[in-house]
Symmetry: C2
Subunit: 507 residues, 2 copies
């Protein structure tokens, strides 16, 4: 296996300057490529793999993660000479060099009185890095490269319509190891897929019904994405997950690392949503279902192939890892045919549209399988949790990287205690156990054309921040929980707007 490391610069300066770091007291694995080769040299082992895209995605992933992972080693160095005379100037020079930004001056200047408040400084740096990461994402669109520009999204929309679907709505688990499910694991354009993450992929049925209703209304009223008389359906997918390396410990926490249970519960939730639509609306209203499993160690997917009636049998699936092996030496055409054959063999009666879609998802996943093999070896080094922050609220379009964020789609803490508690539990091990705070980004996107929507987004942020501080008051009072409040006008397609944070110093 040859591991390749790309170079090249799609990325903003601060990311370029970032260095690899190891988090306080824990192994925060970063990319450790075997050979320091140029991105341009990347070539694929498998005819269906997009080696060039792998290179770009890898560069983006490593540079973003490094910008977060440089925080702890940098602060550790800063801490070491906090009582020296030229401390402020030295600290700023180091921060600028290692992190790409200066630390808040007031905090540094007060260090001579007491010790540096490292908890606050750490949270401040995570939030600052998040801000720069978002600014880069929304100004340079780093994940909308070749074949995945706006026209890539249109292309995919056309493709799913040919397969018989007008909307693809995916609920992965809120687990950070699935945060890259859409753009990396499935290689889909993020603009063309609805993603709502929930602990255990246990999506909210009422919220999904609302989305279905809205989708149907827009088809009827505005012909978007197609007119209502076209025989396409709403496709709801669940992506559960499991660990091939340590199945009984590193699977889905919400299902007690029981893979069969995770799959079964995902299917049950899908069926309940389908039945809700069928029972609530007349005239043959229904939806189509898709169940995927993701191996969080290798990113290989398992697709449960529905039969002619759309029914899913948990035992009838295609494993993309097998597909990769069986098609590794075939030509593009032969491999494609073999894949379609494997899907058909898994479930003889599969519909033609569904067959096409599943084949595409599997083909896309082959690139990700090779991505992990090339850059990380037989599996990721961080097979467990290694998220950098918690994201809570509505939005987070920019979060498309594995183990960057534990994030949960939520309106209120009250309704989402299960999701939030899991996140806090994860970060209690990752951060709190080492004296570092849990950084929580609270984010509400809004539609700027709706009057008062910005004000309501601000209220939502404040409300969720207060509720989180109340629920986790033991952490908050010790400075072990910090929140950043962020909104974004998703219609204007602009930058994020930082409202404030629980820190004394502005970001």
């Amino acid at each position: 296996m040859i591991r390749r490391k790309p170079t090249g610069s799609l990325l903003s300066k601060h990311r370029q300057r970032a260095v690899t770091g190891t988090a306080a007291g824990r192994a925060r694995p970063t990319a450790t490529p075997a050979a320091n080769l140029n991105y341009a040299q990347v070539s694929a082992n498998h005819a269906l793999v997009d080696g060039a895209e792998n290179g770009q995605l890898y560069q983006y992933e490593t540079s973003v993660k490094k910008s977060f992972d440089a925080i702890v080693p940098t602060l550790r160095k800063v801490s070491a000479y906090q009582h020296e005379e030229d401390f402020v100037a030295r600290a700023q020079a180091l921060a600028k060099q290692e992190l790409g930004y200066e630390l808040p001056k007031a905090v540094l200047e007060d260090a001579w009185v007491e010790q540096l408040d490292m908890r606050s400084l750490f949270a401040w740096c995570v939030f600052k890095s998040y801000q720069l990461y978002c600014d880069d994402f929304f100004s340079t669109a780093p994940l909308s490269n070749t074949g995945l520009s706006k026209s890539g999204a249109e292309e995919f929309q056309n493709f799913i319509q040919q397969c018989g679907f007008h909307t693809m709505d995916v609920s992965p688990c809120a687990d950070g190891r699935l945060a890259h499910a859409i753009r990396y694991v499935l290689r889909l354009p993020i603009e063309a897929v609805r993603r709502k993450s929930y602990a255990g992929a246990m999506f909210d049925i009422d919220n999904s019904i609302q989305k279905w209703v809205e989708t149907e209304m827009l088809r009827f009223r505005e012909g978007r994405p197609n007119t209502a008389d076209e025989p396409t359906r709403y496709l709801k997918a669940v992506a559960y997950h499991f660990s091939s390396v340590d199945p009984s410990h590193e699977g889905c926490a919400a299902h007690g690392s029981d893979d069969a249970l995770a799959a079964k519960q995902g299917l049950n939730r899908l069926k309940a949503f389908q039945q809700a639509i069928e029972n609530s609306f007349c005239c043959g209203a229904s939806i189509d279902l898709l169940l995927l499993g993701i191996d969080t160690d290798t990113d290989a997917i398992k697709v449960h192939v529905p039969d002619a009636n759309g029914d899913i049998d948990l035992e009838k699936f295609v494993d993309a890892k097998d597909v990769y092996q069986q098609t590794q030496r075939l030509s593009v055409n032969d491999a494609t045919q073999r894949i379609e054959q494997m899907v058909r063999e898994a479930q003889a009666g599969v519909g033609e549209g569904m067959l096409k879609l599943i084949s595409k998802l599997i083909i896309n996943n082959l690139s990700q399988i090779e991505y992990v093999m090339n850059y990380y070896g037989s599996h990721y080094e961080d097979i467990g949790h290694a998220e950098r922050f918690i994201g809570a609220g509505i939005g987070f379009e920019e979060v498309q990287l594995r183990n960057l964020t534990y994030f949960a789609y939520l309106n209120t803490v009250e309704e989402s205690t299960a999701d939030f508690d899991v996140g806090i539990k994860i970060f209690s091990k990752l951060n709190v156990a080492h004296g570092l705070p849990v950084p929580v980004v609270i984010r509400f996107d809004y539609h700027g054309q709706v009057p008062g929507s910005r004000e309501r987004a601000i209220e939502h942020c404040q409300r969720v921040s207060d509720a989180a501080a109340a629920r986790y008051s033991d952490l908050a009072e010790k400075g072990l929980l910090h929140t950043l409040l962020v909104i974004r006008d998703c219609n204007a397609n602009g930058q994020i707007e930082i409202l404030g944070s629980s820190l004394k110093t502005a970001i």
Copy 2:
């Protein structure tokens, strides 16, 4: 002014047996008619007033309220002989006679050990009365009388469609003095009007957009209530309120008893909703708006008449009290014509459909104006708050009586602290100041045909109950806050289902 008191029996036995009571340490006003005449003798002073319906509505109102107001005097008597030997038997006999049900035996039997737990007993009785009240409502449909059966609802639906509207969606204030706004004040069939109450009538725009989307979808997809090509619109109404007797104290608490502000904020919220629809959807999507004021002392309405473009001027309104006086001696035809003329005079350009609708609302309100005059005099005796319990959640179709319930439409306590806090504040004066607990009914209706919806309704009840107990822990810990958990399958149109309560004894 002749006041008439009806008799007759539309009502269940327990209500017939209920006696008039005065709440502990406070004046809980009940109906005090001047003359004890028979319902059948009711006749109207005004040609457009429905005297027979007034009689039925009055009988229903008084009997329900008496069933709640008998609790305190009954418990006071029970308390007086709690240490006597034949206490349990005497208490049960009295309760059966005065309240129509027996008290929980276990509580009575333990009274000799310590004092009777009056707080729990009071809450238990309120919840029991609520249960019986609901059972009666959903089995006998006491408010769907002549002209207001299911066909009455259909008739009204046809009427509003002729006026150019397919949906009438009203947001009154959560204040208990407006709980009867739909069925009493406006005399509309409850099945044909959407009602969502919020403190200060400050309805949730996002929730309203969802309802608009769903309504449009059903028109397009299922032709309900009419097909989408019919030129009708969604009508959103706000009902703010004020007090003619004590304007600076008994107006809307959410707007600091400032009538002009209440009206202005209501109008602003309406306009924001309209703009949200116009900006979010294409092809001329819009809604129509209506702003009403209700004088909570006399139930007379003020209707702000929109101009030809649907624009509302706060200064251009018709006051139904003036209408009543100016049309009191006219025939049905002359009075009707005069009312239409008054609406036109208020706003020359008013559209014909809106004119028809407003005229109907005013005509309906004349009956309520006379209702208050006949049964209560120049104004209600209880011009302030006198609610019997707080209702929180989604449902409460049965609550159509003035000052019975402070109720707020809510999903979570977290999002609805403003509404909930106002309710707790009201009951702190009404009950807690006299040592009695705040009784809170937490209710979630669900659509039985949607799988898992019952389970989710149960979860919602539990969640809101926990959140309320946490937010008002100072009250809850002292036994001064009690919650009843209730769900109902609104599709089956059946009885409520009691899940449990914060009390030790089952209801």
